[in-house]
């Protein structure tokens, strides 16, 4: 496996412009001869599919949901960053770039991050033109809020539903193209296999989730925008259907998997309540603008929050990080919450939680201002917990939320398989070891609207080969593989449900490969995962048949892939013998408990090459250099 990031020469400010000029173009009349498959219809997939179609390419777009508008980007609450400097508070492209590299704990590629910061500006312009109803000031100008890891206000938002509004913008543009005939949409279709012929991605195999029909689709290029893999933990803030299947199938066909151990645990989620718990609900990070995080000073303090006097409250984030306070980055805030709970100072019935308190903000600004800013989040909290957050502080606890790792891509967003491009959360590119809040929407849309539609043209112009017939033996073999796998799942006829296996896998990972990781724990996980996987294939119980709408069969296929992927996650976490961002190895911390990087040994991207299920994957490295943001211990104090 050869890793060449194809980073353009020249000063960082000019790389993207130079690259755009150097990229080969496909002339407008020829674009319609190319077919491009886009898997996933979230911010990255929908924006890419719509833009490719506008340019003239013929696009087939697949999603597992019943409509492209349901992709999980819709649940992003807080906002989207852009270096507009509309607040005239000292922001710039360079500052957004700098904050993102630093926030990612120096494990991202500088050239990509700089381009992201440059494009952030155009994203806002485009979304406004689409009719995204961003929050406004009275004068009609756009409003901004602050987010973690930044000291400027550069986050654009639409109440607490920014992801929804941005996705609907992309979805509407996509539907416009469906209507115009440039995009064929395949909802309720799941990608089951990537078809690679002579080392080049030539199409996909899908399963129609309503009829069970397994079908081959051939194309000139394949784009995966299939999101992250946080559901490997079973309980996460992701939608129930989010999965690793598409990128895992591509990995098994030769795509390098980069930094799988970089997982983000979001600090502000609702604490788990019981065994039946099916997901964890996120409360937007924007709440930390006005909410203050605290726990009682005294361990095991059983009093109600309002009975605890000011002197017996520990606003620990403000204490540890006076300059960033409650807006310390996500990885740091999450770990500190765990520390408080481990010290016995956690709150709520289970003792697993900390307070997020709006008392002072309500006193300072009035209830109506808080209601305007966060009304829907407060309602959601009350719905779920039955408690009124205007009266009593919220209880929150960290939960798996986002995955910075993903398929390795070069500057063109192409994976190690020529013809296979990966965009949005599914790739590894821009967030390093920790993503800052409001940067996921920015990256998904930068990839989909502005980067991929250009770089894929360069690929197509340089690699002209006739599209394969779906009857080609490679497609037919792949179809047989899919049938064989679903057949095995249905015929196991064991005694444990899919969910039961998924829950056990998730618990195991949360314990040994969650917020804190140790060598001993990871070794234990690596012993137990193969055994659990073996039991899964022998003892899983999947009712129904393959040729019908069968939600348990869909779920079983996804969990089967999680069972394989989980091992790679732990292998990477064990191999990365340092702490950085969201990857915290207990053995490597500073005297005051912060992540201790080892730049001499680990200032690289770990890229794993598949070598068979249960066989040790081969590691490759992309060395990272930091010419603009000097390597330093992150400090938010």
């Amino acid at each position: 496996m050869e890793l060449n990031a194809h980073i353009p020469e020249g000063p960082i400010e000019q790389k993207w412009e130079k690259h755009r000029f150097d990229s080969k173009l496909v002339n407008p009349a020829n674009k319609r001869k190319y077919e491009i498959i886009v898997v996933g219809s979230g911010l990255a997939g929908a924006s890419a599919a719509a833009t490719l179609s506008e340019l003239g390419y013929r696009v087939k777009c697949f999603c597992y949901q019943d409509s492209p508008r349901r992709a999980h980007s819709i649940a992003a609450q807080g906002g989207i960053n852009a270096a507009k400097n509309y607040q005239a508070d000292g922001d710039s492209v360079y500052r957004l770039f700098y904050d993102t590299v630093k926030g990612g704990d120096f494990r991202a590629r500088e050239a990509n991050v700089y381009r992201l910061a440059q494009l952030s500006v155009q994203i806002i312009d485009h979304c406004v033109a689409q009719g995204v109803p961003f929050a406004r000031e009275y004068g009609g100008y756009l409003a901004n809020r602050s987010f973690g890891g930044a000291q400027v206000s550069r986050t654009f938002y639409a109440r607490g539903q920014t992801g929804q509004q941005l996705l609907l913008g992309a979805y509407q543009q996509l539907q416009k193209e469906v209507h115009a005939g440039g995009v064929q949409m395949y909802p309720r279709h799941e990608m089951m296999e990537l078809v690679v012929v002579d080392g080049v991605a030539r199409g996909v195999i899908t399963r129609d989730l309503l009829t069970g029909k397994v079908e081959a689709f051939s194309a000139d290029a394949v784009v995966l925008g299939t999101g992250g893999y946080a559901n490997v933990f079973f309980l996460s803030t992701n939608a129930k259907g989010c999965n690793v299947t598409a990128i895992w199938r591509a990995h098994k066909k030769g795509a390098g998997f980069a930094n799988p151990c970089y997982t983000q645990i979001h600090p502000t989620c609702l604490p788990p309540a019981g065994e039946y718990q099916s997901k964890l609900t996120l409360m937007s990070e924007s709440l930390r603008n006005d909410g203050r995080v605290w726990v009682p000073v005294k361990p095991g303090d059983g009093r109600q929050p309002h009975e605890i006097p000011e002197a017996e409250r520990d606003y620990y984030l403000e204490r540890y990080y006076p300059s960033y306070g409650n807006l310390a980055p996500r990885d740091i805030s999450s770990r500190r919450a765990k520390e408080m709970v481990d010290l016995g100072r956690g709150v709520g019935p289970s003792g697993v939680g900390v307070y997020l308190d709006f008392r002072d903000a309500i006193e300072r600004l009035g209830k109506s201002v808080i209601e305007e800013r966060y009304g829907n989040l407060f309602d959601m909290y009350q719905n779920i917990t039955g408690e009124d957050p205007y009266q009593a502080p919220m209880r929150i606890y960290p939960a798996p939320h986002y995955t910075m790792g993903g398929l390795w891509v070069d500057y063109n967003l192409m994976s190690t398989i020529p013809g296979l491009h990966v965009i949005g959360e599914a790739n590894f590119s821009d967030h390093g070891a920790n993503r800052l809040g409001a940067s996921a929407l920015m990256q998904g849309l930068a990839d989909g609207y502005f980067i991929l539609p250009l770089t894929i043209g360069d690929y197509l112009a340089r690699n002209r080969q006739p599209r394969l017939d779906p009857g080609h033996s490679a497609f037919q073999d792949a179809i047989r593989d899919v049938h064989a796998r679903t057949g095995r799942l249905l015929q196991a006829r064991g005694s444990r449900s899919v969910q039961d296996f998924h829950r056990e896998l998730g618990r195991l990972l949360w314990e040994y490969c969650g917020m804190e990781r140790t060598e001993a724990g990871l070794r234990q996980a690596l012993e137990r995962i193969p055994a659990l996987r073996e039991e899964f294939w022998r003892n899983v119980k999947v009712p129904g048949a393959g040729g019908e709408f069968n939600q348990q069969l869909e779920y079983a296929g996804r969990v089967a892939d999680f069972m394989e992927f989980a091992e790679l996650l732990c292998i990477d976490a064990l191999d990365r013998d340092e702490s950085c961002g969201g990857h915290f190895r207990v053995e490597h911390q500073t005297a005051d408990g912060e992540a201790q990087r080892d730049d001499d040994r680990f200032a690289h991207v770990s890229v794993w090459e598949f070598a068979g299920v249960g066989s040790a994957p081969r590691k490759h490295r992309e060395e990272l250099t930091f010419e603009h943001v000097p390597l330093a211990q992150r400090s938010y104090k």
Binding site: R69, A75, A129, Q130, G131, Q172
Partner: protein
């Protein structure tokens, strides 16, 4: 708590029927979908087919979940999708009837899951602004009064779950259609295509087999995002203007 569930079971075009299940030992802190998860786990263990229902985000925003509980879309709470409905709103011993959305425009796929593809086609007909990627002016080039942005946002919150159609005695999707017409109609960016949009979307709405609005208002009560029927009045006004402007579209 213990509950009795009468659940609509139907596979595709076959004749459906209610089947009765006992849901025993449930927690009041569960969401309604978590209750169904547990019921399904027990059905699977007993070798029976689990109940099919659509769901995804489970935080009330993706719009994928939704079914009738005792004749009410998404159950009894206002402004709440069924994934956010918690069992503390029920009493031990309650008897609940679960049915899919029933409308000609939403064919039943299986059990509680229906096909809502019609909504995508209504948006495709005109629910967008034609703004090609990369061609926009600076976002501050056109100012948007705060009031307009707020009104647009109120309408844009629609999650396309289909509860409005299920609640309507005419199975009309006017609230859904009107919300998108209003969202874009309140904004300067939506003006160039305003009248063309309303004509195209209403035409598609009718072609999908949804009924006409006769001002019952049941949709507004059922809507988990509290979208107001006022938007339907607004749509009708735009529609009338559009038909005068474009006399060729007059019947």
């Amino acid at each position: 708590m213990n509950l009795t569930l009468h659940v609509w079971r139907q596979n595709g075009a076959e004749q459906g029927r209610f089947e009765t299940y006992r849901a025993e030992g449930m927690s009041e802190h569960m969401s309604f979908l978590e209750l169904l998860d547990v019921v399904n786990e027990r059905l699977i263990a007993a070798g029976q087919d689990p109940i099919a229902f659509d769901h995804d985000c489970r935080e009330g925003i993706c719009g994928m979940c939704g079914f009738m509980i005792n004749g009410e879309p998404h159950g009894p709470l206002p402004a709440t999708t069924v994934c956010q409905l918690h069992m503390r709103n029920y009493r031990d011993g309650d008897e609940l009837w679960l049915e899919p959305w029933r409308a000609k425009g939403f064919p039943v796929l299986r059990d509680l899951a229906v096909n809502r593809g019609a909504f995508d086609r209504i948006i495709a007909a005109g629910g967008f602004t034609t703004a090609r990627t990369g061609t926009a002016l600076d976002a501050h080039a056109v100012l948007v009064p705060k009031d307009s942005a707020e009104l647009a946002m109120d309408a844009a919150e629609c999650i396309a779950c289909g509860a409005c159609v299920a609640a309507c005695p005419n199975a009309s999707a006017m609230l859904f259609t009107a919300a998108k017409v209003a969202h874009l109609g309140y904004l300067p960016q939506g003006q160039p295509e305003r009248y063309q949009r309303v004509l195209a979307m209403v035409e598609q709405h009718d072609a999908e087999g949804f009924g006409h609005c006769t001002n019952h208002g049941a949709c507004q009560t059922a809507c988990p995002k509290e979208i107001k029927v006022d938007y339907i009045a607004r749509l009708n006004r735009d529609l009338r203007v559009a038909r005068f402007r474009d006399r060729g579209a007059l019947d």
